[in-house]
Symmetry: C2
Subunit: 462 residues, 2 copies
Amino acid sequence: MQTKVFLNEKDIPKKWYNIAADLPTPLQPPLGPDGNPVSPDMLAPVFPMNLIEQEVSQKRWIDIPQGVLEILYRWRPSPLHRAHFLEKALGTPARIYYKNESVSPAGSHKPNTAVAQAWYNKEFGIKKLTTETGAGQWGSALAFACGLIGLECKVFMVRISFEQKPMRKVMMQTWGATCIPSPSPETKAGRDVLAAHPDTPGSLGIAISEAVEAAVTDTTGETRYSLGSVLNHVLLHQTIIGQEAKQQLKMFGEKKVDIVIGCAGGGSNFAGISFPFVSDKINGKNIEVIPVEPTSCPTLTKGPFIYDHGDIAKMTPLLPMHSLGHSFVPAPIHSGGLRYHGMAPLVSQCVVEGLMTPMAIPQTECFRAALIFAKTEGLIIAPETSHAVAAVIRKAKEAKEEGKEKVILFNLSGHGLMDLYGYDLFLQNKLVDHELHQDDVNEALAELKDLPKPSLSKTGKW
Amino acid sequence: MQTKVFLNEKDIPKKWYNIAADLPTPLQPPLGPDGNPVSPDMLAPVFPMNLIEQEVSQKRWIDIPQGVLEILYRWRPSPLHRAHFLEKALGTPARIYYKNESVSPAGSHKPNTAVAQAWYNKEFGIKKLTTETGAGQWGSALAFACGLIGLECKVFMVRISFEQKPMRKVMMQTWGATCIPSPSPETKAGRDVLAAHPDTPGSLGIAISEAVEAAVTDTTGETRYSLGSVLNHVLLHQTIIGQEAKQQLKMFGEKKVDIVIGCAGGGSNFAGISFPFVSDKINGKNIEVIPVEPTSCPTLTKGPFIYDHGDIAKMTPLLPMHSLGHSFVPAPIHSGGLRYHGMAPLVSQCVVEGLMTPMAIPQTECFRAALIFAKTEGLIIAPETSHAVAAVIRKAKEAKEEGKEKVILFNLSGHGLMDLYGYDLFLQNKLVDHELHQDDVNEALAELKDLPKPSLSKTGKW
């Protein structure tokens, strides 16, 4: 009974897969404040040019530099597991596989892009990176990458998370990064918020504004900003996950995969596992591809495909994406990584094109799934990842009802050892499901009514 | 540049290695209150007979049951890494390898024996296990194993740790275990302590007494006690680590190993990595084998080889071991797993026989080593593990001075993600080294003066 397969280091994918080259309709460009497409030069104060080139690239395959691979080898290729014990507990004829991204030193898939971004910035002569973090997974990953590559790193952490999870800060400091609560007195954006709302718990929107400001106002010109999801180059760096999984499914003797599942917040881990399979789907294979989101932040299932800002302070360009509106504030669920109003443009467009079928699940069903997973497969997963597992369980039960031997693959995006507070509340029966207030969404979307709209797809829809 | 090697599941060791069969002088027996050797029957209320048989076995190789292997496959074989980046930072000609036991779902080597113990108890018809835990690694591991195998599990956690690390309790609960602070009102031992010292922070000695009492007083006869280190069968189950490492060193092209290092508290992770190499040493190979302990709890470097109890309440038999005296209370260092007055009899005897050369290191040097490791190899290691890394760094510097290409292997026994509090203090420069007060040791040892002494070894020493 094979439980998992490794890949040798020499078999690691040597190129990232850029799905932009294969989309049925070209990706819509980001727009500036004037409504015109943003040129690469306009992004230069924020990102190094080598990453901007990746952001706008139409090349299908992009070489992974040797220097990046040498760092990824610390934990990659990651194992692919067969979930025998979960299958048995569910009594399903489905064969369930999971790609275990929790084995990275930071505990999630995030280092796949953190390492690449830090490496390209270093190559470009940058000395320091700034970023924001909510729950802390991304801040930890970038601190890890900068520590190894030799860049300064400053993380603006949403104040309420900073206070609730002090050990995340310690993780980042251990790798040499600085982590401060946001809003902070160090930026104009932070000072403005603090003046108006001294007791604010902070938000990802404020923290993004602070991190971007800190990068673009550094007069040395040696500081840039780094983002952990949403953007094209970030998703690109994660495609190593799905490529490895393809090889490993073959090692298990699987000739096809029926369903690919991942949780989706900004979209990067989901893109990582799914894009190489979406490529097969574009080429005619019959694969169900499911991004899973919380019912309380249902970006793909309830939000329209529109142009919207990536942050509340409107510092980012307008991005073509599914969105609930940048001023929408999701309920305080315990999957901090899924509390984002928008969705990566590449994932959004795949959904619009009919290549993916999103699903929304309430958090108590997700934590129930996480507990089943812990007692069968043994791993305590991140609350975000529990959304993928809940969807897998739904699909495995369907397969049982239909009596079909479906092959299901999902991405185990991270472990939950730094996020046990949510488990604690669930075990104490104190966790509730949050109703989505459609009025709040309508209000947030109403603010966008005068913004440009994405142009029609080839199929004439959107 | 090969960074790590995996082993396929089919290449996992199928037998545990029992070093008792190869010791130059036979292991001294445990003694009862009357000074006579304890018979297997006398242990029956505490452990199931199939584990007692392992405890007293003289067989060199013991088959690992298929049912145990199937659970170990969830994370085993664990990877062996080459520490290229640490080597480079140290400028050493030594080649440094580490066995990464942090990849288990509970985050350490402890599940190697937790799974085996839970499995054998289940086989014997036992329904529930009790145990104690200090820092929480062992309680988490046994909770994990019982959750998967289907046993009830009750963990008595030292009260001060229970309060300082509430998330450890949540981990155990997630796997279905119960975790309560010790001393508790549930046992006579606990009630007695609470009556005399209502504000006691608790201790491992009290928690052991409670866990043993809870097992032996359960009138159903379906409860047993489980220990995470020290005993022969516990060390036996860990030998899979060193056996895997041997195969993996060959895959790296290494023909020999010069130095094997592990931290040593009760001795189990150290035995796991080293015993298969000590076997080679007994057979004539020249290998330096180094157990590393804290200078504030220097069991092997400062404690005599004597008969002593395993717990403060003297509920355990007398064990032949290096000990600082069961009433010695180590300083509150942040490596909870190394704060034990005694040492496994098998490790102790290897030291007496000259097969191992123990080393003691103060905790600030260990945390400095952990920070170097985090910024080179990327992993945040457990404070216990940092002792091994500090010793590796000393040895790698020696190799540099001598200009010798030594091959160094060490056991990375666990990650430190649940133990970041110590890192926090270190980063704030608040961590101190504790002087050992020899008077305290003398006082604790004086209590033992009327106890039997181990008989002479073949070489006429001890």
